[in-house]
């Protein structure tokens, strides 16, 4: 809840983030070709993960706009590639679990006033948003690796 001078401001949603539980992600069977990106590593997604994302999005009346990307965040890593923009949706599907909030790797939606809300990683959780991308917070030393499938979607 925020207040400014004598103006009351009711709690509100960040408006652009929505979290859904979907089925458990498939195991990654094929070796991946990771390449370094800013703050994390990225790889193309194997076909079964693409199908998994497509199925989850279809249940929400959405389809993939372009091929999703697999991200790997280890201790010290952070951030997402630019995803939002235009009139479509962006999404992140967690493929791994965080043990606790302190591990970092939180998907935080922060509004212009600095109010945040968000989620820790949970395997089989789909986060959908429009508008500004969330922050993926820095992973703490010793935190388990975070794997996330991210991409853009559009209405069917």
């Amino acid at each position: 809840m925020r207040a400014h001078a004598d103006v009351q401001v009711e709690p509100r949603s960040s408006g652009n983030g929505r979290r859904l539980r979907i089925s458990a992600p498939p195991a990654i069977g094929t070796p991946l070709a990771w390449e370094a990106a800013e703050g994390h590593a990225r790889s193309g997604a194997p076909a079964d993960l693409v199908a998994y994302a497509a199925s989850a999005l279809a249940a929400e009346g959405l389809r993939l706009k372009d091929p999703p990307v697999l991200l790997r965040h280890g201790p010290g890593d952070h951030g997402l590639p630019p995803l939002a923009g235009g009139d479509g949706y962006a999404f992140a599907i967690d493929l791994t679990d965080a043990r606790r909030t302190l591990d970092g790797g939180l998907l935080l939606f922060v509004d212009g006033d600095g109010r945040a809300e968000g989620w820790r990683a949970e395997a089989g959780a789909l986060t959908l948003w429009r508008g500004a991308d969330p922050v993926l917070t820095e992973m703490a030393p010793g935190a388990p690796q975070r794997l996330t499938l991210v991409g853009r979607a559009t209405t069917v």
Binding site: T101, L102, G104, R115, G142
Partner: protein, 243 residues
């Protein structure tokens, strides 16, 4: 009030008008709580303060306070290994790591405290601040506040906890953030957690904003990132009922 540091609330603040929101949600983020000149003076006092202690709380309840001056005097390999161990979240031993000046505790123990720190303590315990808090919360039990300065550097954090301590009759917790230009991706976000460990609401530490919340509420401060270009400075503590 020390003549060295004169602090005043923003005179346009209407705490009573905020009471319904606070009472409904048990927490509130109030931007611009101090007059601009007061906030700038307080920020400068914190930035220049000495006598910081690296405060570490272990899960078994032990507090370890290490002089930051002594830590910085350690040989590099020893200091780096210690800092690595403190920041390692693969163990659950640590509850928090940050730098602090425990102003109220120092005063209570009769030890000398720098004039600006005493001024902060007196201001927080003065009629303007406590009166504002009473008006905002609608609670007439507020008797005194303990006060500490905190400084979070990269790797510092506060794990989830609720602040309950029946012996101390804590009613409310407060955090007055004083770092200008803080960015959300630098971490240090005051996060209120739901039962699943997700972030129900968080406040990026905005300069001159007061966060006030009823105790208990599960909250944490996310780890400050290596990206942070400046320390996360704040004045924090609890407001207590009379013993």
């Amino acid at each position: 009030m020390s003549p060295a540091l004169s602090l005043r609330l923003d005179p346009t603040l209407r705490a009573a008008a905020l009471r319904p929101v606070f009472q409904r949600h048990r927490r509130l983020h109030i931007p611009g709580i101090l007059e601009a000149a007061s906030a700038a003076a307080l920020h400068a006092a914190l930035r220049e303060a000495g006598g910081w202690t690296r405060s570490i709380h272990l899960e078994d309840g032990r507090d370890v306070d290490l002089s930051v001056e002594e830590l910085e005097a350690l040989p590099d390999p020893e200091r780096i290994e210690l800092e690595r161990a403190l920041a390692d979240s693969s163990t659950d031993r640590l509850q928090y790591v940050f730098d602090t000046v425990r102003i109220s505790a120092e005063l209570g123990a009769g030890r000398p405290v720098a004039a600006p720190m005493r001024a902060i303590h007196d201001f927080i315990n003065g009629p303007a601040f406590l009166g504002m808090a009473a008006e905002l919360t609608g609670d007439d039990r507020l008797a005194f506040a303990d006060v500490m300065a905190t400084r979070y550097l990269p790797g510092h954090f506060l794990t989830a906890h609720g602040d309950e301590n029946p012996l101390e009759r804590r009613l409310y917790a407060y955090v007055l953030n004083l770092t200008p230009g803080w960015r959300a991706d630098w971490g240090g976000v005051l996060m209120f957690l739901d039962d699943d460990g997700h972030v129900a609401e968080g406040y990026v530490p905005a300069y001159n904003a007061l966060n006030l919340f009823a105790v208990p509420q599960t909250h944490a401060v996310s780890m400050v990132s290596r990206l942070a270009r400046t320390p996360r400075l704040s004045i924090t503590g609890w407001i207590h009922a009379a013993a």
